[in-house]
Subunit: 251 residues, 2 copies
Amino acid sequence: MTDADLTTTEANAKLAEEARGPGRRLHGAIAHKLGTAILSGKYAPGDILSGEVAFAEELQVSRSAYREAIQVLTAKGLVASRPKAGTRVLPRDRWNLLDPEVLGWAFAGEPDIEFVRSLFELRAIVEPAAARLAALRRDKADLKTMKDALTAMRRHTLTTEAGRAADRDFHKSILQATRNDALLTLSASIGAAVNWTTQFKQRARALPRNPIPDHVKVYDAIAAGDANAAAEAMNVLVDLALEDTRSSMED
Amino acid sequence: MTDADLTTTEANAKLAEEARGPGRRLHGAIAHKLGTAILSGKYAPGDILSGEVAFAEELQVSRSAYREAIQVLTAKGLVASRPKAGTRVLPRDRWNLLDPEVLGWAFAGEPDIEFVRSLFELRAIVEPAAARLAALRRDKADLKTMKDALTAMRRHTLTTEAGRAADRDFHKSILQATRNDALLTLSASIGAAVNWTTQFKQRARALPRNPIPDHVKVYDAIAAGDANAAAEAMNVLVDLALEDTRSSMED
DNA sequence: TCTCCCTATTTACTCCGACATATTTCCTGT
DNA sequence: ACAGGAAATATGTCGGAGTAAATAGGGAGA
């Protein structure tokens, strides 16, 4: 893609508009714009983002704002800048794909179905093990959080954002009960992917059977402190989701 | 901690010195300084980093450099800035603990042993499953990469940086063979932790038994395409490391 | 004549400090 | 207690000076 594709006058107007949104910052809007462009493949690894001055001029923003946006992308491993050489898009294996913001950019357009599959595969690996640990380490407060989330899920159902938030809360509370910060960090990333997929499936009117009973089984096992049962119950849950993802790949 | 602790004259001289190193950038050095300060607990969640101008002045750098450093920290979820309110350290669950750079900061000082344990626990969950997938999906090129890494490990041993790099390469090649980008991203994070621990243990002259045979078993199972054997062999490997970590916690 | 190395130029990032703006907080006055 | 204004502070902007690196050109040696 040429720079011009990203820097039409209309696009600039939209950028300025977005940037003025509540809480949004200018460099954040630029980072989002460039981030989605990279994640969607409009800029391929190895491509050069033409000069700082030129780009800032085209985007009608100051060089400082552009630079700060580049810093954000650099921090996430998407690009690297060197004097004279310009700012290059790094190879994909350097990207922090699990960064919540990068994930958001990946899901902003048409997400790569292969990547979605890999996230669900990761989930299918991590969450059963997490449920096992949670069954061993949870305390009363953890159980209460889980139960509250389950109640909210039942009330709102997954067709609403509130319901999906409750679903995320349920899974997050399990991760939290593992007393493992590294696992907990993962939950934010995985949650984003799951949320997007749930929305997508709902749009496609392909929501599977009622997920509540399966969730309850996980809760019961964790509450009972039965590690093996917790892992197995969670396995059922995530395998179902993984199968769904696999089948939707064939569309 | 007060700002003064971070901004003594000597510290500034060191900062400038570091920054002028080859390839190093000033805002990168500042981000490293602040990042390690936060990760080490000198700044606790909720603490505010006193005013932009004040801090930049104390550090003897321009506001731009300081601002760009803050952008980096913000991108990694460590801090958030709001007009008038100042720049606050975010709660720990917002941190991107799996970001390679954050991980580097965590290991720069005296890393929290509890956090190290959580990383190894994550590893013990992920790597056996990865070995299973690798056994099913690896191709000839993957196997060659693994074999080369094994050979290098044998030659250099884990007492040298070259040997540890080979160890990382071996594990990375397995993750690569899973054809799963999300898993691959994790390997960089986990590798950093493992590397640090290996160094640490070596210093403490507590290197365990020869790790090569266990690695060979993993390789053989993956080469044979035996998923269960691969998972089990990797399980032995990571459980050993996890046990080591647990025991060193008692020191 | 060809190759290699060294130097100079050019180019683009990096850093700087001042200025302008917006928003939040706090204080003051009603 | 409330409303409005002033102060404080972060954000956005600008253009210039500095610096590092890639490329091109010229010179020396084979």
